[in-house]
C-alpha cells in the first residue's frame, strides 16, 4: 500500500532545527514525502493550531519547513526543539510549472524564499536569482545555493538598497531575455513583479497566501474571487492573474469576511 499522506496527519518528530536568523527557523523531518516545488503541507502542533507551510528543503529521506516568527502559531513553531511532535498532511496544491532548458528569473521576498528554494534547485545554472528582504536579518539561506544570487534590502544592510523589482528591471533592460519569472513574497511585491512581466510580455508564476482550513478545495476559506488558492493554487500564472480581480486587493478573514489586503495582513489569528 502506498503511503497516504494527504488524509489524517502523519505524526513526525523534529529531527533537526536550524536557527536561520532571529526571525527564522527551519525544522527538518526525516520522512520521504512525494512533493513538487510550490506545494505546501498543513502543519499541526497538537494543542495549538494548524497552518499551511511550504516545503523548503526536500530529498528522498528528508524535508523541512522554514518559518518566520510572526504571530502565536509561528512563534510556537519556531520555538520547537528536536524531538517535538508535529502532525503534517499534504502535500496540497499545484506547485510551479517547470520548463527545462528555459531561461528563468526567480524573485524572492523575505520568507517567500521558502517555496522558491526547492524550485531554484531544479532550474538551470543560468537562472537569475533575486532575493530581497527588510534587512540583513531577514535574508534566508545565505550560503545554500550553487547559483549566484543578487541581494537587496529595504535598509541597505545587505546587498543593493531597494526593491527586487528594481533589480529585475535592470536585468530586463540590460537585454536579458526571460522565458519565465517566478515570484514569492509579500503580495504587493508579487503584484509589482507581475506588472513588470506583463509590460515585457514575460509569463509569470506567483505563489499566493490565504487563510486555509481544509487545504484540499472543499471548505472555501481560501477562495480568492473564483479561484481556490489551496487547490487551483497556491501558484497562479499570468493567465489566471489577469482574471483575478482580488489579486493584491482583497482576502477573506477567518470569518469569511472579505477585506482589503492591508487589513488582512495586519490581522492576528487568535
Amino acid at each position: 500500500m502506498e503511503n497516504i499522506t494527504d488524509q489524517r496527519h502523519i505524526m513526525l518528530r523534529v529531527e533537526e532545527k536550524r536557527r536561520e536568523s532571529p526571525a527564522f527557523a527551519t525544522l527538518f523531518f526525516d520522512y520521504c514525502l512525494a512533493f513538487k516545488p510550490g506545494q505546501f503541507i498543513m502543519v499541526w502542533i497538537p494543542g495549538m493550531d494548524e497552518k499551511p507551510y511550504t516545503i523548503s528543503y526536500h530529498s528522498k529521506t528528508r524535508f523541512a519547513i522554514t518559518i518566520e516568527a510572526k504571530g502565536l502559531f509561528s512563534r510556537k513553531a519556531v520555538s520547537l526543539d528536536k524531538g517535538a511532535l508535529v502532525g503534517i498532511r499534504g502535500p496540497f496544491g499545484n506547485g510551479f510549472d517547470i520548463y527545462p532548458d528555459s531561461s528563468a528569473a526567480v524573485i524572492a521576498g523575505g520568507c517567500g524564499m521558502a517555496p522558491l528554494a526547492t524550485l531554484v534547485e531544479k532550474l538551470g545554472k543560468n537562472t537569475v536569482f533575486i532575493h530581497g528582504a527588510r534587512s540583513k536579518d531577514y535574508i534566508l539561506y545565505p550560503d545554500r545555493f550553487d547559483i549566484q544570487r543578487q541581494f537587496c534590502t529595504d535598509d541597505g544592510s545587505f546587498g543593493y538598497k531597494g526593491f527586487v523589482t528594481d533589480l529585475l528591471k535592470q536585468q530586463i533592460e540590460s537585454g536579458r531575455q526571460f522565458d519565465h519569472v517566478y515570484a514569492c513574497g509579500p503580495e504587493i511585491m508579487m503584484a509589482a513583479v507581475f506588472d513588470l512581466c506583463e509590460e515585457h510580455h514575460i509569463p509569470c508564476q506567483v505563489s499566493l497566501e490565504r487563510y486555509m482550513r481544509c487545504g484540499f478545495g472543499v471548505c472555501g476559506a481560501c477562495v480568492c474571487g473564483s479561484q481556490i488558492v489551496c487547490k487551483d493554487g497556491p501558484v497562479f500564472n499570468s493567465t489566471a492573474l489577469r482574471d483575478m480581480v482580488d489579486f493584491n486587493k482583497k482576502a477573506l478573514l477567518k470569518s469569511g469576511k472579505e477585506v482589503d489586503l492591508s487589513l488582512y495582513f495586519s490581522w492576528r489569528c487568535q
Binding site: D49, V218, A221, V223, K257
Partner: protein
C-alpha cells in the same frame, strides 16, 4: 433533465451543499458553470464569528470529519456579497443559522430582503456549542423555530435536518406543520471524533466533528426514505453522494434534488457536471425519467 423545484425551473437536479466553497459570488458562479443547478451559500449567522481553530477539516479517505464551527461575517457585514449577488445568473439558496428563535428570525428576515431564491435554515449543525442542532433533534423546538422564520421570509423556506434526530420523520412533520416548503437532508452525521494516539489529542481543535462523504451515504439514504414516508414536501437529498448512481439511489429513496458537498474533494470541482451526466446516462440506458424513479424504493415488489 430540467426539473422544477418550488416553482423554479432548474437545469438539472444537482445542488451545491452549504459550507462547501460557497464563500463568494465568483466561486458560486464557477460551481454553477461546472454543472450545478442550484448553489447554497455558506450558512450565515447573527454575529461575526471566526469559527474554530484548525484542524477543522480532515479527510478520512472514505469520508471526512469537520468542525469548522460556523464561521460567518455576520448577516450585517455582507453588503459587498449581496451587491455582487444582485445580478447573478444562477439560482441561489441562502443558508442561515442562529442561537435562538429570535436570532434565526432576525437573520432570516434580513436575508430574505436580499432576495435569494430560497432560504435554508440550518437547524442541524453539530459543530458549535450553542447553534443549530439542538433544534433539529426535538420536534417541538423545530416547530417553533421553523414557524417563527416562516412568518418573516418572502421566499420559499427549506429546513435542513440532522440525521442525529431519533425519529427524523417526526422532525420533518414538525417542519411541514410549521410551514416549511421543502426539506434538505442530511447535514453531517455523528458527530464523530478522531484521536491522534501519538499526541493523545483529538485531531480536531473542537474535538468532535460532523461526518460527511461516502461513509454517511447509507444514513442519508435512510433519512430521505423516512422523510419521504412522513411528509409530502420535496426533499433535497444529500450525504455522501459522489456518483450518478449514488444520486439515483437517493432519488429512489425519495429525493427531488440531490446535494453534493464532500465529493468535490473526491472527484474535483466538475463533479457536478459529472454526476449530472451520469444520472442522465443512467436514465437513458434504463429508458426512464426522474419522475418515474423518485421514491421508487417505496414500492415493494415480489
Amino acid at each position: 433533465m430540467t426539473i422544477e423545484f418550488l416553482g423554479k425551473p432548474l437545469k438539472n437536479p444537482i445542488v451545491l451543499a452549504s459550507g462547501i466553497l460557497g464563500n463568494s459570488r465568483d466561486i458560486l458562479e464557477r460551481v454553477y458553470m461546472n454543472g450545478c443547478a442550484l448553489v447554497t451559500m455558506k450558512s450565515i449567522g447573527p454575529e461575526p464569528r471566526d469559527g474554530h481553530k484548525n484542524p477543522t477539516v480532515i479527510d478520512l479517505g472514505h469520508g471526512m470529519i469537520n468542525a469548522v464551527g460556523l464561521p460567518s461575517p455576520g448577516y450585517l457585514n455582507m453588503e459587498n456579497e449581496w451587491l455582487a449577488l444582485e445580478n447573478r445568473s444562477f439560482p441561489l439558496i441562502a443558508s442561515i443559522y442562529g442561537g435562538s428563535v429570535h436570532e434565526y428570525q432576525m437573520v432570516a428576515e434580513y436575508v430574505s430582503s436580499k432576495q435569494p431564491d430560497f432560504i435554508e435554515i440550518n437547524i442541524s449543525c453539530p459543530n458549535s456549542e450553542k447553534h443549530g442542532m439542538i433544534f433539529g433533534v426535538n420536534p417541538v423546538s423545530t416547530h417553533e423555530v421553523v414557524s417563527a422564520v416562516k412568518k418573516v421570509v418572502q421566499v420559499p423556506l427549506i429546513a435542513k435536518l440532522t440525521p442525529q434526530a431519533p425519529d427524523i420523520g417526526e422532525i420533518a412533520r414538525a417542519c411541514e406543520d410549521a410551514g416549511a416548503d421543502a426539506i434538505c437532508a442530511i447535514n453531517t452525521a455523528g458527530p464523530g471524533m478522531v484521536i491522534d494516539i501519538e499526541s493523545r489529542q483529538p485531531v480536531l481543535a473542537f474535538k468532535k466533528g460532523g461526518l460527511s462523504g461516502p461513509m454517511i451515504k447509507p444514513i442519508a439514504v435512510r433519512c430521505v426514505f423516512d422523510i419521504f414516508q412522513a411528509v409530502k414536501l420535496p426533499i433535497i437529498g444529500l450525504g455522501g453522494i459522489t456518483t450518478g448512481k449514488d444520486a439515483i439511489e437517493i432519488i429512489m429513496a425519495g429525493a427531488r434534488l440531490v446535494g453534493i458537498g464532500s465529493a468535490v474533494r473526491y472527484r474535483g470541482l466538475d463533479v457536478f457536471q459529472k454526476v449530472a451526466d451520469e444520472i442522465h446516462q443512467w436514465l437513458v440506458e434504463h429508458n426512464t425519467c426522474l419522475d418515474d424513479i423518485r421514491g421508487a424504493a417505496h414500492r415493494s415488489i415480489g
